[in-house]
């Protein structure tokens, strides 16, 4: 990964008073589950860099431990070997600088959309009352949910839930957004609308984004860097720099360049998928 470019970017952003994006790194990370004598190694010696202010997409065959990777990055779990760092600082648990958007919705069903969004700042006692509500409403209007602030999550459509979740994460001003297959389960139309919406949001605020998916088209459309994982025990197979211009639109996916990336990624992933398919058979 073009380390010189990302390094200059991260030093530039460090000069700002409030950090907008952070550099995330995984060094020699391994993780296994189960008892020692029959443990299943899920991640094996993973070293990968997530440059500040860039959108890094992780793709891999299904069941390869992508969610485990997310749990380590978020701090829900600790690696057996190796370390995860954010701007050089060791990750020891979940924190507000790294916000996770979960696979299926994790909006709290007994709180209204507004209550969900204000939950984080309220819990930490940072902001309160009117000004917090106003800020949350502003964010919700921005994600197109202005009319739904008093609805409960289950009264929203799948796409709206995801946008509400984005708002809930963004109000905490994280420097890293971790997205664990966030658009899974949406229908094709809402999915592509969400991708476009998400890209706009990213291109506007340039936070460090780590986006996990199993869809290659989605990956290429969104990514600055594409990390391709191997089959279990999972290692980083290749990192592809996706050099498509921003702001992006869907037409770029049909360009010769995108097609080249797609073929490259498909070949790599197909090989891995075949392996896991053979094992499971």
């Amino acid at each position: 990964m073009s380390s010189s470019k990302s390094a200059s970017k991260s030093t530039a952003s460090k000069k700002n008073k409030k950090l907008n994006s952070s550099q995330v790194e995984m060094k020699n990370v391994s993780k296994a589950y189960g008892e020692t004598w029959e443990s299943e190694e899920v991640l094996k010696n993973i070293s990968v860099e997530f440059p500040a202010g860039e959108l890094t997409v992780i793709v891999g065959p299904s069941g390869c431990g992508k969610s485990t990777l997310v749990n380590l990055l978020a701090g829900f779990e600790k690696p057996d070997v190796g370390e995860v760092t954010v701007d050089g600082k060791l990750v020891t648990g979940p924190a507000q600088d790294r916000m996770v958007v979960f696979q299926e919705t994790a909006l709290i069903p007994w709180q209204t959309t507004l209550e969900n969004v204000t939950f984080g700042p309220k819990m930490r006692g940072e902001k309160k009352g009117r000004s917090l509500d106003d800020e949350a409403k502003e964010l919700l209007v921005k994600v197109g949910l202005g009319e739904f602030i008093h609805k409960f999550p289950l009264q929203l459509s799948g796409g709206m839930q995801r946008r509400a979740e984005l708002a809930r994460a963004l109000i905490n001003e994280p420097t890293v957004m971790i997205m664990d297959e966030p658009f899974r389960g949406l229908d094709a139309m809402s999915r592509s609308l969400m991708q476009e919406f998400f890209l706009e949001l990213f291109e506007e605020n340039k936070k460090t984004n780590i986006f996990v998916t199993s869809e290659i088209d989605e990956a290429i459309f969104l990514a600055d860097n594409l990390v391709i994982l191997s089959n279990k025990p999972t290692t980083v197979q290749t990192v592809i720099k996706i050099d498509l211009p921003r702001p992006r639109n869907y037409k770029m996916l049909t360009s010769a360049k995108a097609f080249k990336y797609r073929k490259q990624a498909m070949d790599l992933l197909h090989g891995e998928a075949m392996k896991s398919f053979a094992i499971s058979k």
Partner: protein, 293 residues
């Protein structure tokens, strides 16, 4: 998209108060449900009448039929001593209701927190769960001698038995309620910077509420059940006592009146618990409505 259609719906003024009530009643009586209920009750009463009074089938002829019961029940001078015009009837009801309120309140006050803590903390569960699971299958009637030995007077044992039965149901349901909460809500709350206590207040308690209220509806039924059993064994007043007392004195009408009264009050108390639950869980009600229930 859905956005425009929703705004349109919101554009219609929402009826309130009496208007809303009339709208709902109107809708209800246009459906077939209420007529089925009326027909069901009518059929049941008719069968009862045929068995006891119409044909006087063998052994059923010892029971008071619907006509005999209603004659006494609504009479100012009841032949067998109990009617809606006698003070004694209301004394029995009042005593039973007081005991239930006390027992159910005690069981809820102890059971809900205990169940929540058991679901929330592994170590609390390890301490308490095995004991509860051992005591729970012991039938409530098996506790009668012990409760009489342990507690003085009439009130003590009766309330103890009713409390005990409903306590187990409530505790277990509250614990299962916590178990039912999706792990991701805990993670999301942790990620957003909640302390352990915040998670208990904002995730554990509201998340377990649907299970808790299912449990409370069962537990108030169980409380009535064991209260009456207790009153029949050790009591000086109350609907259970009235049943057994009437039986002993060979007057069958007050016995059946007390039974039917118990049914109505039990129904009413469950409905109250359900209504309270729905009020506290607007999100859950809307979720069910979304699924067409």
């Amino acid at each position: 998209m859905t956005q425009s259609s929703t705004t349109q719906l919101d554009g219609n003024a929402k009826p309130e108060g009496f208007e809303l009530f009339m709208l709902r009643m109107n809708k209800k009586f246009k459906s077939v449900d209420p007529y089925l209920t009326v027909a069901g009750i009518g059929l049941w009463l008719f069968a009862y009448w045929v068995l006891c009074e119409g044909l006087e089938i063998w052994r059923f002829n010892k029971l008071p039929g619907p006509v005999a019961i209603s004659k006494d029940w609504f009479s100012t001078t009841p032949f067998q001593g109990i009617s809606i015009f006698t003070q004694e009837y209301y004394d029995h009801i009042a005593v039973s209701c007081q005991r239930i309120l006390f027992a159910f309140g005690l069981a809820t006050g102890l059971g809900v927190p205990l169940g929540l803590f058991m679901g929330w903390s592994r170590s609390i569960r390890d301490y308490i769960f095995p004991i509860i699971e051992t005591l729970r299958p012991i039938p409530i009637l098996a506790w009668v001698p012990l409760s009489i030995l342990l507690l003085p007077g009439f009130e003590g044992p009766v309330i103890f038995l009713a409390t005990l039965a409903s306590f187990f149901v409530t505790t277990l349901n509250a614990m299962l309620g916590v178990d039912s909460i999706d792990e991701e809500y805990f993670r999301a709350a942790g990620c957003l910077g909640s302390s352990r206590w915040d998670i208990f207040r904002h995730v554990v308690v509201p998340g377990a509420l649907p299970f808790i209220f299912t449990g409370l509806q069962i537990s108030i039924g169980v409380a009535w059940f064991s209260l009456v059993a207790a009153e029949m064994v050790s009591g000086d007043l109350g609907l259970g006592y009235l049943i057994v007392d009437a039986y002993m004195n060979n007057v069958t009408v007050p016995m059946v009146i007390a039974m039917i009264t118990l049914g109505f009050i039990g129904y009413f108390s469950s409905a109250c618990v359900r209504a309270l639950g729905n009020k506290l869980m607007a999100w859950h009600v809307k979720e069910l409505a979304q699924q067409g229930r």
